[in-house]
Symmetry: C2
Subunit: 449 residues, 2 copies
């Protein structure tokens, strides 16, 4: 996303000045739009402004996008006047992006001081791809990120604050754009890319249950249960008993009510508590979309919690956003949308399993499924603009649009991944011979014991 | 395996003396076998010998096995006289195991100074499980292992020596116990556990090719090709062109001849060279059973080699023995059978992908398949004792029996894992929507682009 600028090494001045290729790439085209009066003299963009705009464009890897300045001057590559466009509505917006692009861009867009013309996720994809060609994060920045993560360790109380910030916005808000039945605020699974969101979320729930090989009578503990859809689905469809933990008050209230309505009170229990306080022992551990909020520093502890709460032999599944390379979440999303969130790499996530006698059986990357899920969410979000505006102010509406579009773009271009890990105790031989049971429609070879 | 003793903390003397539970567990039963004369006085085992034998048993976690000493005295738990038995044929054997069990046990067994009665893999499983209950490796030992690995870095010339040591023993030898057609000296794949080794190796070859979604005309580069079976299979069955690298002279000669006989000379090329010297660009990278010989210190370099030799978009698969926790290969196997070998954890293997812009799509753990493969190999190995004895001396025959049985036990109890990683360039969207194509017999949803 465009907020990555500060992580990249900007071209030094003399190189940008002398490099004819770079100069050719971004041209300044004063364009006067017919529907607006000419800008007053004091606000006209100067050569200085154009220089800084080109500098930002360069830091983004000169993607195929256009900039429009407050006086309707346009900068862009080639003559592609159809490329999506970022419109800086005032000089301050340009300079703020220059200084701290990652957070400021999101804030300025939310405030309406930056507008986007054209396909929003498409523009953000181009920006991501541009940045990727510029290379990775600097070692010093990486170190600073690690230190700051250590300082902001997700303690019990901080986790509660973080989760309240995001998930207690209001169930009615989420209901407008998530799937109606199971309120899944995690990646869906599309065996067929033409599937509806509703069907793909049910397919995801089945995919998770099949990976766990649920049997009637199994006991399941869930860490971070959202609005309770997976727990309810497991009890209804697979005849298991589920105890589900969550620290979002509104979600637990909603989940409990829905389970009561479905007559599942005896088979599904929602507990308003942190995963670190899980008690009892279960056949199955499952966690879908919580790991992002745990923080790398707590992975060994999470692994201990899992090890302790699993009967032996037991089995587990973790579903989480991840990365190919270690890098913090986009700072704007981390500060404004998801405080305390961090998507781990496979290497980092191994810190859950390796120290705790857990054996990873299966890892699946469902990145494209999340890009598609987000496309559906964003579409529904836009379709319900009127209702959302009645609930929240314009700043909120714009911020969430950017967050959804930016996330879609991040999965599309491979900035983010979606991993599902299946695991069991080391040495458990009661594991399936193959994964064919995950793909029904064929005979499943026997399960060993 | 029993050679792990030195890694474990032995119980201090006073605890062993005072702990009644421990004293109860291992009892000394002087047994005079009818088929042997009573030992002469000078070789009779003493209380001192029994103390050390109990100490070794304790260091192994007091597994359900028996020890027999040179004078037929037996030590064991309970009164389970049917438990498998380790027979120390002389006092020196007992004391050598005491001093450096991991390497000495294998050598003494090879020399016939230690005998095993009962099921060899079964005994080794009990020993592994006993050791597992005693806990992991000490930090100092872990550090020493890391340092020694760094010193013994697998340079080009050392890799060549290491590989020559193992793979150039003689094709005739391996042919006696591997599958006849493809000479696969790597884990087979048993969709049905009752399958023959031959069928399971063909199933493995298909499983690898399906994971790679080979299309006719694709170009494939293989790193470490054994006797060339996979390359030949790919060309024959999937219509691709393969260039396969290997530094074992005998294997390359055999592979080349087989390909010529099959009329595949134009479509399969075997190159006697190190994977670090791979040239050209290919649609697919594949490596089955080489990573064990690469060494963790070279993983980033291997990842670079892969990144450079893959067209974009390309795809790859690595198949390798692994671990749940970092730990060097059993020292006896590392010194006598597989010099320079090391099975990585998922965290360590991530060092191939993370620094090199590669995205892991799929990881599968086939541990039990390797235990079963080894059971088949060991059975054939025993069935061909006469031929093998005609080729090699008794020491070799016994060493290889122990190696095969110990490996079977290690996979059975979860000391070793077998991982297959599928990967592609980060951001490649031409990846399958699901893994159902790996499980034919059902409709495969479309592949995105």
């Amino acid at each position: 996303m465009i907020m990555k600028v500060r992580e990249q090494k900007p071209l030094p001045y003399h190189r940008e000045q002398s490099a004819s290729a770079s100069a050719r790439q971004v041209s300044v085209r004063p364009v006067v739009r017919q529907d607006e009066p000419d800008s007053p003299a004091g606000t006209r963009s100067s050569t200085f402004d154009h220089y800084f705009a080109r500098k930002i464009m360069g830091a983004l890897g000169n993607p195929k996008i256009r900039f429009r300045l407050w006086d309707n001057t346009e900068l862009g590559q080639d003559d592609d006047s159809s490329a999506p466009l970022i419109w800086f509505r005032d000089r301050g917006a340009l300079f703020k992006v220059m200084r701290n692009s990652e957070v400021r861009f999101g804030d300025l867009y939310s405030d309406g001081r930056i507008e986007i013309e054209g396909d929003l996720p498409g523009l953000l994809e181009r920006v991501y791809q541009g940045i990727q060609t510029r290379g990775g994060q600097k070692p010093v920045r990486r170190w600073l990120d690690r230190v700051s993560r250590r300082i902001r360790r997700n303690t019990l109380s901080r986790s509660a604050e973080n989760i309240h910030h995001h998930y207690d916005i209001g169930n009615d808000f989420y209901r407008l754009w998530l799937d109606a039945e199971y309120m899944q605020y995690t990646c869906a699974y599309y065996p067929d890319s033409a599937m509806s969101l509703e069907k793909a979320q049910v397919a995801k729930l089945h995919h998770v249950c099949r990976k766990l090989q649920l049997q009637p009578g199994d006991t399941v503990v869930e860490a971070g249960c959202g609005w309770g859809g997976l727990a309810r689905f497991m009890a209804e469809q697979y005849g298991v008993k589920v105890r589900a933990y969550n620290i979002s008050r509104k979600q637990v209230a909603y989940a409990t009510e829905r389970a009561q309505q479905s007559g599942l009170s005896g088979r599904v229990e929602y507990v308003l508590d942190d995963y670190r306080n899980i008690s009892g022992q279960y056949d199955v551990f499952v966690s879908v979309g919580m790991l992002e909020h745990v923080g790398v520093e707590q992975y060994a502890e999470l692994g201990q919690v899992i090890y302790k709460c699993l009967k032996n032999p037991g089995r587990g599944l973790i579903h989480s956003i991840g990365r190919n390379r270690p890098r913090p979440l986009n700072r704007w999303i981390e500060q404004r949308i998801f405080p305390g969130a961090y998507p781990p790499t496979l290497r980092e996530a191994a810190g859950i399993f390796e120290p705790n006698g857990l054996s990873v059986l299966d890892v699946e990357n469902l990145r494209l499924h999340y890009a598609l899920t987000l496309r559906h969410w964003l579409q529904r979000y836009e379709d319900h603009q009127n209702q959302i505006r009645a609930m929240h102010d314009d700043r909120f509406v714009r911020a969430w649009r950017l967050y959804l579009a930016g996330s879609q773009a991040a999965f599309s271009v491979g900035e983010l991944q979606l991993f599902q890990w299946v695991f069991t105790q080391s040495g458990n031989n009661a594991i399936p011979w193959s994964r064919s049971h995950q793909y029904p429609g064929q005979n499943t070879p026997g399960v060993t014991d």
